[in-house]
Amino acid sequence: MEAIYLDNNATTRCDPAVVEAMLPFFTEHFGNASSIHAFGSEVGKALKKARGQVQALLGAEHDSEIIFTSCGTESDATAILSALRAQPERNTVITTAVEHPAVLTLCEWLEKEGYIVHKLRVDKKGRLDLDEYRSLLNDRVAIVSAMWANNETGTLFPVLEMAEMAAARGVMFHTDAVQAVGKIPVDLKNTRIDMLSLSGHKLHAPKGIGALYLRRGCRFRPLLRGGHQERGRRAGTENSASIIGLGKACELAIEHMDEENTTVRSLRDTLEKGIVSQIGHCFPTGDIARRLPNTSNIAFEYVEGEGILLLLNKLGIAGSSGSACTSGSLEPSHVMRAMGIPYTAAHGTIRFSLSRYNTEAEVKRVIEVVPGIIAQLRKLSPYWCDKGPAASVDGAFAPTYA
């Protein structure tokens, strides 16, 4: 049986056309773009083309607004640290409680270093309170960093509006769009977004390549200083093969943008409805009316996510979970906690994230097997009793908690 990959928010497979575009840059075009000779200039031309392809997907005004980096994490760190260093008179960062660790862990460290970090809270559906946001914008804020799309639930934040609000108060705005780029249309030249992070491996380019969009005129301080690569804004010899792969992937993303929002979206909806309609005590999490077209995150109450994943994996189906046990921490996903999802449900969240490679047959198969897996695990669960939660029956399970 063919394996079914529904973990595309974790990473995607490289498109074969991407691999093909990259290959010559490991062999015949191995030169260093900085060199004056022919070996280098070939690479230089290809990098320029790739920069243009990324620019096109983002709708950036200038290709020099694209800085290639090594990953999404580096882009995030570069943006936030740059804003703080370029504006030493400003000591505050506004972000959200549900960011990826690439932003959150950095912000926690910044707090230890003495900066002030405001994490915007979200409601039960993962939505921000824009009034709270507005009230926090002042001239001590160096940067706002809010993700465009949440990696766990796919929930979209109104970043265009938030960027306008920041601009009106003279505050820089960065968005971690690692999950959004390639899945929803982006047109940066018509926004007030100053910086945007993206990562190749989320859109069928290789791992270990990312980009930072930096609006022309936005004050900037590099993270890595050294050679003059990327106009001195990110030193280090270019990862030319990967950059060319990212460029190709961006070109393909433009071609597939409609498909992403029609075919992939409808597969996702079929999957979600198919599962939720068959199983009691489960619900999709996040802002389901405003989310990525490829993501469905379902909380199965009274069972634990890792068990679900192991049983799915046995059947060749790959998903991911927000349960504590799969993260190596003791706490379930910070995103689920921020939304106030009860513990018994937060531990049982499963994220299915699709791509244009998924098929209807695959979705059908998943819909077939999930109910059995949940039933099997609920039979083992002390919170579950025959056909419903044990809380509704006598002798409800109330363990002594550590």
Binding site: E113, G307, C325, P332, A346, H347, L380
Partner: protein
Amino acid sequence: MWEYSDKVREHFFNPRNSGPLKDANGIGDVGSIQCGDALRLMLKVDEQSEIIEDAHFQTFGCGSAIASSSALTEIIKGMTLTQALEVSNQNIADYLDGLPPEKMHCSVMGREALQAAIANYRGEEWSDDHEEGALICKCFAVDAVKIADVVNANQLNTVEEVTFYTKAGGGCTACHEGIEEILAGIKAERAGPGEVSPPPLAAALTAAPLAPANASTVLVHAPTVAVSTPTAAVSAPPARRTLVQKIRKIEEVLESVRPMLQRDHGDVELADVQGKTIYVTLKGACSGCMMEVATLGGIQQKMIEALGELVKVLPVSHMPVEA
């Protein structure tokens, strides 16, 4: 994901003794809501012989929690209550051919459920005294609560001491930043209102956080960290001692650490003292283990404290051969 042993996988996919047990006369419900695990253990105990005739479980938890529960029921069936109480969480882990360090708490939960179920059978109250924190050291599965407890109980001040007492940090060393943070937190607490400051030795040997290069922007709002100079390392001026007195002191220190080493099936002996270098022989489980360096570091620290002078503690293998 995790590297589960075949045995863990097998017990997860085919759990033994799962589901309610009809005429159970001892039930233990335990859990850790944060880490998401909860377990109900049901025992059927023969009142005459106190033998566990049957054991079932229901578990809300990850693969290894379910496997640990399954293993536990298999282990204790047929045991007397007294025998069952001897079952340790390590026994459960061993039965499953080991658990990943992040998952050792699953076996701890199994053991707690067992204690709770037996208490329930005997009509006693069972209360959990075990608190769990975030896993800090992945090499030796030591969590934050354990580290903080040991640091507080023994007034520890350095990463080396923490390693010496708990093993945490003695492997790959990647968690040293985390240990330093715990130490800094406790130090800040100790230095709270009306508290005495930590001994100078501690201050000197605790790695002081380095000021970032762009200190001017970063540290404006940061509390200033007082950094003691290494000269403060020696608390008391070196007293004049005869060699015999010095060796007696050294023996005292070794005596004080011996119980800890013996707990890990090791031992230590004094080999020689040459000037400021003390040579020791590490024995049993201590010798050659990856903890050797950390152990010696810990002993050295205690020697410095006790002798009031800077000395080195080295394994006897480092002793120069006499000409």
